[in-house]
């Protein structure tokens, strides 16, 4: 039952992806996909790794919600009780109340369900609001709180078109509490609605059937027939409606119509109770009209059919008691597990309406999924051991190759370069001399010129060398002018060079530290190996426990299914007796008639 709970969480707006919410939204993905095992595992892994998103409370509430959906009610309530403090954000509190309200409702505690849902101050979305109001209206019907239902109906926050279900619930509450006029008035309003979807059409049909029943009980048979004629001929309540219409027709003497209606019902669903009702009623109409032989034939046919159903049901019961009927389950596209055997699938489809069966069945499916999960890990353990060995070998190999020499040499080069640039920069700042910013080429050129100058100075002064001296001075001046005109960009280059060298040194330092750490550290093989051994033991222990629980649950499912079938067998047996009784009576009439 809990597993079938609908998915609910704070609705995420589809805005641009936010990397901070990654872990929360990844869990949401599994939760919305109905994969509760992965969702819970992800949350617990993130928690253990301290990968919790910005909003811790929101993640915790989601965890509680998934626990509820997965049938771990106790753990869910523990989380909600812990979180539900004054300091918690109002929006998150509302989510907690919704989860709790729905859980109480699923567990048939309607009073607490209503109280929890009433505490919600603001709904996350319109669809959540609608779901809340529908659960509330059901809870009020079960607890006979008419005034609260009336308030719900007058609530301005819900669109009129979405109030049909609440209106129907209120009408039922009026009828149950001896206020037939008010109830009938509301039912009339619903039946007059122009239906726009399947849900509205079904509610409208249900209202008309109620009105038809009220008219029938008040002996207004024609009015009852009129209501039924307005209903959908193949809707959810059509079997019941056709039978009621046939009864009304037979009472007012329109036996031909009643007969034809019952014949349509006779060929309907195999196990429908109306099938036997209709055969009995057809025979009684024929008997009432004096067609005793025909009535006897109908009854004998019916008895044969009911005997076959009885035998089939008996065989099914025997089979279920001997054999487990949920073997050979298969998976649908959406990952749901269904019963593959056609005969049993039909049975399970019927039994699933019994809350007792549904609860055990859902747990059984959950345990089968866990069985698959455990089997996967069983195959993974040897792989993990191999991987551990590989990583250890790889680590040892890598460690032997670790050397910091290259990086230490590089570090010395960069340190030297940095020192040079810094001193150059500091000198330039002090002297503002363009000489200090000469490029390598310019320095070389300057040196060449100085060499020429020295040579000229050493030569005999008898010759006229003033022209050469003049040219050297001019060239030196040009060299200086070149550097001076480029003064600012050259200072910027020095500054950029300092920054670059500093960054490079920082990277080298980190690299050296990391390599030194790697060389000195150990891959903790023993710790991991021990961890694998412990986990293997846990897998084996839980595997046994799981098998044992599955067997117990299987036995429980067989018991519940056979009890449900026993009840059905008793019902068919009652019909069988009714047929026998009618056959005896009609046979007497046939005998007397022939005599």
């Amino acid at each position: 039952m809990a597993s079938s709970a609908a998915v609910y969480a704070i609705e995420e707006k589809n805005t641009e992806s936010n990397i901070e919410d990654l872990f929360y939204k990844n869990t949401l993905y599994h939760y919305y996909s109905g994969d509760y095992i992965s969702a819970l595992t992800r949350i617990l892994v993130n928690e253990k790794r301290s990968l919790v998103d910005t909003d811790k409370d929101r993640t915790k509430i989601l965890q509680g919600g998934i626990y509820l959906a997965y049938g771990l009610d106790y753990d869910a309530k523990k989380i909600f009780e812990f979180l539900n403090t004054e300091s918690l954000d109002e929006e998150l509190k509302n989510v907690i109340w919704f989860y709790l309200g729905r859980d109480f409702y699923d567990n048939f505690d309607y009073k607490n369900a209503a109280e929890s849902l009433e505490r919600i101050t603001k709904d996350a979305s319109y669809s959540n609001k609608l779901e809340k109001f529908n659960i509330l209206s059901n809870s009020y019907v079960y607890t006979s709180q008419i005034s609260k239902l009336e308030n719900l109906l007058n609530n301005e926050n819900i669109d009129e078109k979405d109030k049909v279900y609440i209106k129907f619930n209120l009408s039922i509450a009026y009828l149950r509490n001896n206020q037939p006029l008010k109830g009938k008035k509301l039912l009339d309003e619903i039946s007059d609605l122009k239906v726009k979807n399947v849900i509205q059409s079904t509610i409208s049909d249900k209202a008309k059937l109620h009105l038809a029943n009220i008219a029938f009980n008040n002996k207004k048979y024609k009015e009852s027939i009129d209501y039924i004629n307005e209903m959908n001929a193949n809707g959810l309540y059509s079997d019941n409606a056709i039978y009621l219409s046939a009864l009304s027709h037979s009472i007012i003497g329109n036996t031909r119509k009643a007969y034809s209606l019952l014949n349509t019902l006779k060929v309907r669903e195999e196990r429908s109770i109306y099938k036997y009702y209709s055969v009995l009623l057809i025979a009684r109409i024929l008997e009432k009209n004096g067609n005793f032989q025909q009535a006897l034939n109908v009854l004998n046919d019916g008895l044969r059919s009911i005997s076959i159903s009885k035998q089939e049901l008996h065989a099914l019961l025997e089979k279920i008691r001997k054999d487990f009927f949920l073997t050979g389950l298969s998976k649908t596209k959406d990952g749901d597990i269904i019963v593959a055997n056609k005969e049993y699938k039909k049975l399970v489809d019927e039994l699933i309406f019994s809350k007792r069966f549904a609860s055990h069945y859902n747990n059984y499916i959950d345990l089968l999924k866990l069985r698959k999960n455990i089997n996967y890990w069983k195959t993974q353990i040897p792989q993990l051991r191999i991987m551990l060995g590989e990583r250890d070998r790889h680590f040892k190999e890598k460690r032997s190759k670790v050397s910091t020499t290259k990086f230490i040499r590089s570090k010395a080069d960069y340190t030297e370069r940095l020192a040079h640039l810094k001193s150059q920069y500091s000198l330039v700042q002090k002297k503002e001399d363009a000489h200090l910013l000469y490029s390598e080429q310019e320095i070389e050129h300057e040196d060449d010129l100085s060499y020429v100058e020295k040579k000229v100075n050493r030569l005999s002064r008898q010759e006229d060398l003033s022209d050469i001296e003049y040219k050297v001075r001019i060239m030196k001046g040009l060299n200086y002018w070149n550097a001076a005109s480029d003064y600012k960009p050259r200072i910027w280059d020095v500054e950029a060079g300092i920054k670059e060298a500093e960054a490079e040194l920082d990277t080298l330092n980190k690299r050296i530290v990391s390599l030194q750490r790697a060389a000195g550290s150990e891959f903790n093989y023993a710790k991991h190996a021990n961890n694998i051994r412990i986990l293997k033991e846990r897998i084996d222990r839980l595997s046994l426990l799981l098998d044992n629980t599955i067997v117990r649950l299987k036995n429980k499912l067989i018991l519940v299914a056979s009890e449900e079938l026993d009840e059905r067998f008793k019902g068919i047996d009652a019909y069988y007796k009714a047929f026998k009784y009618d056959i005896a009576r009609v046979s007497d009439r046939v005998f007397l008639e022939n005599k």
């Binding site: 609705e11 995420e12 707006k13 589809n14 805005t15 641009e16 992806s17 990397i19 919410d21 990654l22 939204k25 990844n26 949401l28 993905y29 599994h30 939760y31 919305y32 996909s33 109905g34 095992i37 819970l40 595992t41 617990l44 892994v45 253990k48 790794r49 997965y70 049938g71 771990l72 009610d73 106790y74 753990d75 596209k333 959406d334 990952g335 747990n363 959950d366 345990l367 866990l370 999960n373 455990i374 890990w377 993974q380 993990l384 991987m387 551990l388 990583r391 991991h528 961890n531 694998i532 986990l535 846990r538 897998i539 839980l542 426990l545 799981l546 629980t549 117990r552 649950l553 429980k556």
Partner: protein
Amino acid sequence: MKKILPVLLILFLSVVSTASVCSAEERDSSKLSKDIQNIKKEIINLNRDLFILEEDLLFPANTQFSVFLSMDIGEYFSLDSVQIKIDDKIVANHLYTTREAEALKRGGVQRLYLGNLASGEHEIVAFFVGQGPQKRDYLCYIRGKQCRCICNRREKY
């Protein structure tokens, strides 16, 4: 009076025995339900520890590479499948069920791939196959070399 007493006694005994059978069955059911809850919880805790170990051994933090997928443009595009290629090698394929596609539209983020990558430059390409307006088939792709590549482009093939 002599006849009535044994009858009453038998009735009383039968009521008592029925009551005890009922409570035993209830107790049994409640114990089974508790055991199921315990085993579910224990296996999920085991799952957590195994996942952590697996991640530590197979995908160490310094080489771990994950591809996450989220949708912020789900209104006109219904996703059918995704293929991820890293350095021209197919590493992940995913065919979406209705529920999974819906989970993405509702704001869930899927971890599409978890693996290892050596440091350096790599190319990742993702192909998205789905249906657009009027149920027309679409193939979109994104290609990127950055680590945090968030898809918000849609291209008709």
